[in-house]
């Protein structure tokens, strides 16, 4: 009898499997023949350098990177993407943006909104998504605005809109907090000053911490009584369990310091202070001391004179880097395609401008790939070209920092999602490498 069920199940599986396969054919396996591979990953954990492979091959299958290196034979059955005169880099990761959603900006009724999440507002048809891909952006962390102190929870999505149901990489990206300037809302409730805002935030953090600890004690058997279920605090449990970070809109040395104190020092949370302009870099050394703090800059990347009043243009990226901040990332904070400030597809240009103003080129590239992935704790999936990671790849004639050369080809999860008009890089159906390249 058991055998019969097993056989029956196997047959059913085959049938279902066949139907599924007919519905959605497996994406082809690709072999990328690259002129230069910028992996954005170190050779080993002790090294800080990025491995660069000249004239290498990357094999992609099942949406992942199967192999990469200089001496790889292309097996049979792989389509060859000939990028032998091009640079091959990981897809760009945006750590702070507002695109790709509809109706997820600011819910202005109350200042503290731990119940809200933007994941349900993802709109694959938002024009900004296809535009972003043309700039090599493959993963975005998109979030509510900074109109309230706790705006809700962000979402991390991959920009392959051909399968909308598979776009979400993590439903709860981070908890979005806003601490200085924008959330000083003067809505007639508590929080029109920073005193009030800090009080409100500390109250909710305290409640959520106690709530999380109560459940931890219960789940570990330390406490027999089941805690009262509080849906409005459920999402914050993930923050206090260390599963997701908070991302904090913050400005000025005071603001950045306050963010680090309240969230990292007092509550031991992983925190991404974002924007951090108006002199935030002056406490850069304090940020560098804290492992749980990842500085994210943008859309402003330069400060003129203030608050140092020295008549100089201070590059925020270079200043934070000089202060010792290691996991620096850069954003566009894009609010829409036609916004002239920093459209999503120009995240790499934000990095270029940071490099122009004094940030090392490689650090600028890390700031839009592996560092933003690490800040969001998704670096096991994206941000660098390593075996086992998602096959998110950008191919162009120059570095991502060069803006005379356009992006030619973008793959997400091993699928070609963008190929520039007039460019044909897929040269063969089968393997068997040609020597000419």
């Amino acid at each position: 009898m058991k055998n019969a069920i097993a056989i029956y199940s196997a047959v059913l599986l085959i049938i279902v499997g066949t139907v599924y396969a007919e519905d959605k054919p497996a994406p082809p396996k690709y072999a990328v023949r690259a002129g230069k591979i910028l992996t954005m990953a170190p050779a080993d954990k002790s090294s800080a350098d990025t491995v660069v492979i000249n004239h290498g091959i990357i094999l992609l299958s099942d949406g992942k990177i199967e192999a990469l290196g200089a001496n790889i034979q292309i097996p049979k059955g792989y389509k060859v993407i000939d990028a032998s005169d091009r640079w091959v880099t990981p897809g760009i990761v945006e750590a702070h943006t507002h695109i790709g959603t509809e109706g997820g900006f600011n819910d202005m009724v109350t200042p503290i909104n731990p119940e809200l999440q933007i994941a349900e507002c993802v709109n694959p048809e938002d024009i900004t998504i296809e535009k972003a891909v043309t700039g090599g952006v493959t993963t975005i962390h998109t979030m509510p605005g900074s109109g309230t102190n706790l705006a809700g929870f962000s979402v991390i999505i991959k920009l392959d809109k051909s399968e909308p149901e598979k776009m979400i990489l993590r439903e709860l990206g981070a908890m979005k907090i806003a601490q200085a300037f924008n959330p000083e809302r003067r809505g007639g409730d508590l929080g029109s000053t920073r005193m009030g805002m800090s009080w409100s935030l500390r109250q909710i953090l305290k409640q959520a911490k106690q709530y999380t600890e109560a459940w931890q004690a219960y789940e570990q058997g330390k406490c027999k009584e089941k805690p009262e279920f509080r849906p409005e605090l459920e999402k914050m449990r993930k923050v206090f369990n260390g599963e997701i970070p908070t991302i904090n809109h913050t400005y000025s040395p005071w603001g950045v310091m306050q963010t680090m104190r309240m969230f990292n020092d007092e509550n031991n949370l992983n925190v991404i202070p974002t924007h951090t302009a108006y002199g935030g870099y002056l406490v850069g050394a304090e940020a560098a001391k804290r492992d749980g703090v990842s500085i994210n800059i943008g859309p402003r990347v330069v400060e003129f004179s203030r608050p140092t009043y020295d008549g100089r243009f201070h590059a925020m990226g270079a200043e934070y880097s000089k202060a010792g901040v290691k996991n620096l990332s850069i954003n566009t904070d894009s609010v829409g395609w036609s916004s002239w400030i920093a459209p999503q597809e120009e995240l790499s240009f934000q990095a270029s401008m940071s490099a122009h103003l004094g940030l090392d080129d490689l650090k600028a590239l890390k700031a839009i790939t592996i560092n933003s992935a690490r800040a969001l704790d998704i670096d096991d999936r994206v941000g660098s070209l390593e075996i086992g990671k998602d096959a998110d790849i950008v191919i162009k004639r120059g570095s991502l920092l060069d803006h005379t050369t356009p992006v030619d080809l973008v793959l997400i999860n091993g699928k070609i999602v963008y190929q520039r008009k007039g460019v044909t890089l897929v040269v063969k159906d089968e393997g068997a490498p040609s020597e000419k390249g």
Partner: protein, 416 residues
């Protein structure tokens, strides 16, 4: 009396000598001191290619010689540009900057101490088109404009040329109607005027009266000045094309986002454009043809033979934190046009000689050519490379900016 004539003579001689000594740097004996030589750099002349390891001589604020193997006069002031890029100062065909004040007479309200003059120098921009006022209400022509140089602290040399175009607007129905009506009046008057001057004695014609309010239109018809208009969509652009079909006038169009859609028409009518490659406009779903913005705008226009200048998304000097979208990064905007398929040479022309031609000052600036103003910039790399800085800016042969001596960027080095 009591004056010793002998002594008095000696005194006079002494005085003359003293005056001579004081004036020495300016006296003809020391003329070589007025020569500046820039040597060793790659000269991006714009109009005649790149001269590797070339020399430029500057005399009286003008370029006097340019080329390889040029002998440098002994007493010349020498600027060593070895390993650097030397090119004409950049020209912006649009700017909203404070140094031109708010008065309708631009010459009366120039502010040589405005910070934007100082930032322009640090950005390598040496010629700037500014305008004040503009068409308003039912009046389709108005305002004034000028080309200025950001000679920080020096009012004397700021104004290059006033009234280089006739600011006009056809965007409102009233404006357009009035424009066409006045243009027709001016056209009819000019025709009558020709007849009148030819036949007035023979036929004893009555004195011809000029209708009021058509002076500007006459200037347009005589092609003394171009009309400068704004048109974004293909439909708006074709409206202007139609107008030129009726009246043969020169036209410059700002903001021509959808020009790529009607590039051939624009080329045929020799319309000059001012474009921003990164400017965004969504495609219009209500029409079946092409619409919206594209990075390829510049490349398509070039192919059709259209002359254009490139300006950044924000034609100002931004100090509030956003980098790469304002006049401080003018070459970056042109670099984006290259990524859209434009050749590098034309991209460089669009921020130098072509911009100068469009704003009517190409006889003086926009290229490294003998006889032109010595408005020269020295860069530490290719103008389209993201790391490149302006190291030195000269206007009329005078060094007005040195990166190493200015607080702005002197602390930024790329050797780390």
């Amino acid at each position: 009396m009591g004056k010793n004539p002998q002594k008095s003579k000696a005194y006079t001689a002494h005085l003359v000598l003293m005056i001579l000594v004081t004036l020495c740097p300016a006296c003809p004996l020391f003329a070589d001191q007025d020569v500046t030589a820039i040597k060793g750099g790659d000269l991006y002349t714009i109009t005649s290619g790149i001269i590797k390891n070339g020399t430029i001589l500057i005399e009286d604020g003008k370029i006097s010689r340019i080329g390889q193997n040029i002998e440098i006069p002994k007493n010349a002031k020498v600027i060593n540009a070895a390993g650097k890029v030397v090119m004409p100062g950049l020209v912006t065909a649009t700017a909203e900057v404070g140094m031109a004040g708010s008065d309708n007479q631009i010459a009366e309200s120039l502010d040589p101490f405005h910070y934007s003059a100082s930032l322009a120098l640090a950005s390598g921009i040496t010629s700037i088109y500014v305008s004040r006022g503009g068409p308003s209400g039912s009046n389709p022509i108005g305002g004034t404009n000028a080309v200025i140089k950001p000679t920080y602290g020096d009012l004397e040399n700021m104004l290059v040329k006033e009234s280089v175009a006739q600011n006009a607007s056809l965007s409102s129905w009233m404006g357009k109607t009035n424009f066409l009506e006045n243009q027709r009046k001016a056209h009819a008057y000019l025709q009558k005027f020709d007849e009148y001057t030819r036949d007035k004695d023979q036929k004893k014609l009555q004195e011809l009266k000029k209708p009021s309010g058509i002076d500007e239109y006459i200037r347009l018809l005589k092609k003394e000045l171009p009309a400068r208009l704004r048109a974004t969509t293909a439909a708006e652009l074709l409206d202007i094309v139609e107008m030129i079909d009726e009246f043969d006038i020169r036209v410059i169009i700002d903001d021509a986002v959808e020009a790529w859609v009607v590039a051939e028409e624009i080329a045929k009518h020799d319309i000059h454009l001012v474009i921003t490659p990164r400017e965004k406009r969504r495609p219009n779903e209500y029409i079946s043809g092409s619409s919206g913005s594209t990075l390829e705008n510049a490349a398509i226009l070039k192919k059709a033979g259209v002359k254009f200048a490139i300006v950044p998304t924000s034609p100002s000097f931004a100090t509030w934190g956003i980098a790469g979208r304002d006049l401080m990064a003018l070459p970056m905007e042109a670099a984006f046009a290259v990524s859209g398929g434009l050749d590098e040479q034309t991209a460089l022309e669009s921020i130098t000689i072509n911009a100068a031609e469009i704003i009517g000052v190409a006889d003086r600036v926009g290229s490294l050519q003998v006889g032109k103003d010595a408005d020269i910039i020295i860069l530490d790399g290719h103008p389209f490379h993201h790391k490149t800085f302006v190291e030195l800016t000269l206007i009329n042969g005078k060094i007005l900016y040195e990166k190493s001596k200015s607080p702005y960027f002197s602390h930024i080095t790329h050797d780390n």
